[in-house]
Symmetry: C2
Subunit: 197 residues, 2 copies
């Protein structure tokens, strides 16, 4: 029973699921992955410790939702780079810069997106967005490198080559595995040899 209708906190949050996800995401990037807990998320949103259970079956479900969000945004980052340009070569470069930019903007989330253990990799919604990224990568990978063989195999190789390269670069960059002196004024485009296409 609510007396003061002005500033009384409602029993039902309204959009707790979304609020938990944004809180989780902030905690993930600020506190780090190992300090992220459901209870902290609940606390940040101002709700009881077990309220998240109504929206996420378990912690893995929340992490999976976070990862799914990540893939969706990664696609957006790439598409934005693509949409800004007209010709194939420039679009490709923009998409690659967008990919790495996403990883740099969300390093902890990016790591989570490729964690074998913490996310449920059989989640259909997750895999849908993974596939979305894959399609974009497939598109910008066409006519990349001088691979040989039948067309299907060549396209698969081009795609795997580009994704391996950009993913490896993004992760080694955000994990600080490159020498700092080497990184001066360098980006992903600098480490791609001038291939035909």
């Amino acid at each position: 029973m609510t007396i003061n209708t002005k500033d009384a906190k409602p029993y039902h949050h309204g959009n707790l699921k979304h609020a938990l996800l944004t809180a989780a995401r902030r905690l993930l990037e600020t506190e780090g992955h190992s300090d992220l807990s459901l209870r902290k998320c609940a606390n940040a949103v101002g709700v009881s410790a077990t309220a998240p259970q109504n929206h996420f079956a378990n912690k893995a479900a929340l992490l999976t939702a976070l990862a799914t969000q990540g893939y969706a945004e990664l696609a957006t980052y790439m598409r934005q780079g693509i949409d800004e340009h007209a010709d194939r070569g420039t679009r490709r470069k923009a998409a690659l810069l967008g990919y790495v930019g996403f990883a740099q903007d969300n390093p902890a989330l990016y790591e989570l997106m490729f964690a074998r253990d913490r996310v449920a990799s059989n989640d259909p919604e997750l895999m849908r967005h993974v596939g979305e990224c894959f399609v974009i990568l497939a598109d910008i990978s066409k006519a990349f490198g001088n691979f040989e063989g039948e067309i299907n195999k060549v396209e698969a190789k081009q795609q795997m080559f580009v994704w391996s390269l950009v993913h490896g670069y993004a992760q080694l960059l955000t994990a600080n595995r490159f020498k700092k002196s080497d990184m001066l004024e360098m980006n992903i485009l600098d480490i791609i040899p001038d291939l035909r296409g």
Copy 2:
């Protein structure tokens, strides 16, 4: 006071640190990263729950030690490939196959080795072995790709290119991000375009 000297368990383990590391490594690959706990390691070795504290300041220290072991073995995998052959091109290929082979043999450990959060990346022993891998990669990266610029920059680019490519491939492979149909009878060498050198 030990009465039965035959099968009485000694109070001091003897080499608990080493035993904990091997137990941790087994648990890491079998149970998965998120189910690895110090207490389980202690239990697996048959020692009290807090005994590990005498050998590892905290859990991060144990994980860091695991990652350090990982880099040392990764270097061994690559060197083995290198030592088996004479000419530069074949050695390079063997080293790359060795790199990916290590990741496939130890997927959970490999992921840990690039985790931003769980390992203390300022550990000197860890970084020594990271550097060891970097040197090997630098060696096999020479004369790779048609990069341009001054020699130092070119070598840095070659190195970053090769490491990005092989790391990205290894992780995407072990994280099941490639289409299975594309992976049929394919390996890291198939996705490297035929560059000069």
